[in-house]
């Protein structure tokens, strides 16, 4: 490029890191549900949308944004727990049925949101403003997104390695019969897994709410990308999501920068197809480590 400078490099670097972080954020919850339970949750986008709406409602009643975001994830986690108890627990081992049921759930959730909040776009102004380096300016909130994506990855890692829930959940995935024999109750674990995945989706929606328009159909903009990231990433929740987000988010951003976002989106799809063709079990499919 003709004008390489510190600001220019930073500008590209931040923009790319942001694309990757957003992809990782929206995929993480889905990866937990798919990796731990084998459930394909087609209502993932709507859990994300719920997180955004909870944040919006809380800020409307003057709850500070920095409190509203964590609360939104917890609220969606509780919702996820309820959904698992009422719907998902009847559908384990029935992949097609669970897809159909969660798709139906997504329609219901989107329509209920239309009834409750109206169909029009709403929003929260982006906080924190901008900072200027070497002639280029950056949104401070972009750094918040990047840091939060890493923090949530760390949270998932700690959950599955340092808590008894996580150890039991991994045991139940590795060897269900043996796990049951030593007294691990898989029903309880599944409800927790689903709630945790939903909470991660809720946090993603809450963090995105101040950057985008909040509307009932907002989940649709992310759901396809999240699925591709999970499929390309494979069974490793953290390693898979991180590597697939790096690959797909990086490619989309670079191609968008060099041409237009239209080709960026196309490049993401083509790379995803090639990756799945060459590595049918995903990038993390051949790695030994579970997470």
């Amino acid at each position: 490029m003709e004008h390489v400078s510190v600001g220019w490099l930073l500008n590209i670097g931040v923009s790319m890191a942001l694309s990757i972080a957003i992809l990782a954020l929206v995929s993480l919850g889905l990866a937990v549900m798919f990796g731990m339970m084998g459930i394909i949750n087609l209502a993932h986008g709507e859990f994300l949308m719920c997180g955004a709406y909870v944040t919006l409602s809380l800020t409307r009643i003057d709850v500070p944004l920095w409190l509203a975001i964590p609360l939104a994830g917890l609220a969606v986690g509780v919702l996820g727990y309820g959904v698992e108890r009422l719907l998902i627990r009847f559908l384990y081992g029935r992949l097609a049925d669970s897809m159909l049921a969660t798709w139906g759930l997504s329609l219901i959730m989107a329509q209920l949101t239309v009834l409750a909040f109206g169909p029009s776009t709403q929003g929260i102004p982006t906080p924190l403003g901008s900072l200027s380096i070497d002639g280029y300016s950056f949104s401070r909130y972009a750094f918040v997104i990047i840091v939060c994506a890493m923090l949530l990855m760390a949270l998932v890692y700690l959950m599955f390695t340092r808590t008894s829930y996580g150890v039991m959940a991994r045991a139940a995935v590795q060897n269900p019969a043996m796990a049951a024999a030593v007294g691990i109750n898989p029903r309880k674990l599944n409800a927790l897994n689903f709630a945790f995945g939903a909470a991660l989706a809720g946090w993603a929606g809450a963090l995105l709410a101040p950057m985008v328009g909040v509307m009932p159909s907002m989940g649709e903009a992310y759901i396809a990308r999240a699925f591709m990231t999970v499929v390309v990433g494979g069974p490793g929740i953290i390693t898979g999501t991180a590597s697939a987000s790096l690959l797909l988010g990086g490619i989309e951003n670079v191609v968008s920068y060099l041409s237009t976002p239209f080709f960026g989106q196309g490049a993401l799809l083509i790379v995803a197809i090639i990756a799945v063709r060459l590595l049918p079990t995903g990038i993390s499919g051949r790695w030994q480590r579970q997470l």
């Binding site: 029009s120 982006t126 328009g213």
Partner: protein
């Protein structure tokens, strides 16, 4: 239960056929409307449907047309194009509507237009669009690029600078309009330094904002559309670019972007339409009061599209009155005779040869109270390109859409 239903139905039918005979001397005239009242496009369609009901009510209150009341049959196309051709068929064949008004996107217009042509039913498209449609059976009240984009680019080049960057929604409106921007920029001696087409489901503008910082344009021409694209204005403001370049847009505000965004995020964005709610004329004060009394004082911002719909119905009603009949060819002749109405946006005249409206346009900047401040006005702007290309009085057989550069 079934028997009872059958009986009451017969009774009801008997009653309804009796009542109008006493109440009125003439049968009502059936008119049709198809708009997106639900689904993603209802950010545009909702206000247009509200305006349709208000216009019909207004015409009926002042005596209807030819002594008959209007009976509105309206369908919600649910933001699904397939519904447009289906409902247009039903309106023409089953409901026997004498006129169909509707369509939000250009794609929906192209779904209705052939059906209306085939069934010989008069059609009005009342929404801002990319211009150039030339069809004896169709009348357009929405603003077109020669009325909107040309003065907008002139204004931007004069006030803000000669380097333009175009961001356009990735469908026919965005592509054709960005060609227009290029043509007008060249005419004004300005330069388009970049063009990005953004798919409608993209809400992440990081790479676009990087490119804007690289190419440092004076002006960003935003042809962005829909709920996801609102994110651009937010991410642009949050990256602190607001003071460095100015956004001008012929679409900002139609989806109520100025109320969705924070006042600081929207402030200073320049839009241009024939109508803003803030237009300060007696006709508009009366119109906004009527709107408030019908839809409550807290109604949403009244969009330019809503007033285009209002103008469509009133132009048609006046033409029918003049023709003395609802017969299609006679109403078309009346509309081609230079009919004009006093609208909330000022005088609106139907241009007979091009079937497009001659109307005022206003320049306005988004302000810090989620509304607009009007900064300029042009009177009776003709649809120049359509007038040049399309003469339906000389060539009534034309069925085409003219594009820039043809």
């Amino acid at each position: 239960m079934l028997k009872l239903c059958g009986k009451s139905l017969v009774l009801a039918l008997a009653l309804t056929s009796l009542v109008p005979a006493h109440a009125q001397s003439k049968d009502p005239i059936v008119v049709g409307s198809i708009l997106d009242e639900t689904g993603g496009l209802n950010i545009y369609g909702k206000a247009m449907a509200d305006s349709t009901r208000l216009a019909i009510e207004d015409i009926n209150k002042s005596g209807g047309v030819l002594g008959s009341q209007l009976k509105l049959v309206s369908y919600d196309a649910q933001s699904n194009n397939a519904n447009y051709s289906r409902y247009a068929n039903e309106l023409a064949l089953r409901d026997k509507a004498v006129v169909i008004m509707g369509g939000v996107t250009s794609a929906s217009r192209e779904a209705i237009r052939p059906v209306a042509d085939r069934n010989k039913t008069l059609y009005f498209y009342n929404e801002q669009y990319e211009g150039g449609v030339c069809d004896k059976n169709e009348f357009n009240t929405g603003v077109v690029p020669s009325q909107q984009l040309a003065p907008l680019i002139d204004y931007a080049v004069k006030h803000y600078g000669k380097r333009l960057y175009v961001l356009a929604a990735d469908y026919n409106y965005g592509h054709i309009s960005s060609d227009w921007v290029k043509a007008y920029a060249t005419k004004d001696g300005a330069q388009v330094v970049g063009t990005d087409f953004i798919p409608l489901d993209v809400a992440e503008f990081g790479s676009t904002i990087t490119k804007l910082q690289d190419s440092k344009p004076d002006v960003i021409v935003s042809l962005l559309v829909g709920g996801n694209h609102i994110a651009f204005y937010r991410q642009f403001a949050s990256a602190g670019l607001g003071g460095k370049m100015t956004i001008v847009s012929p679409t900002f505000g139609l989806g109520n972007e100025q109320t969705v965004l924070g006042a600081k995020e929207a402030k200073g964005i320049l839009a241009i339409y024939p109508y803003f709610q803030e237009v300060d004329t007696p006709a508009n004060r009366k119109f906004t009061a009527l709107w408030s009394s019908t839809y409550g004082a807290n109604h949403g911002y009244i969009t330019d599209s809503a007033v285009a719909v209002w103008n469509g119905w009133h132009l048609w009603a006046k033409a029918v009155q003049k023709a003395g009949t609802t017969d299609r060819t006679k109403v078309i002749s009346a509309l081609e005779s230079g009919i004009s109405i006093e609208s909330p946006s000022g005088t609106v005249t139907m241009d007979g040869s091009s079937h497009h409206a001659i109307q005022n346009t206003y320049f306005a900047q988004a302000n810090d109270s989620h509304g607009f401040t009007i900064v300029g006005k042009q009177e009776a702007v003709p649809p120049a390109f359509e007038k040049e290309m399309c003469d339906l009085i000389k060539n009534p057989g034309l069925h085409t859409q003219f594009m820039p550069g043809q």
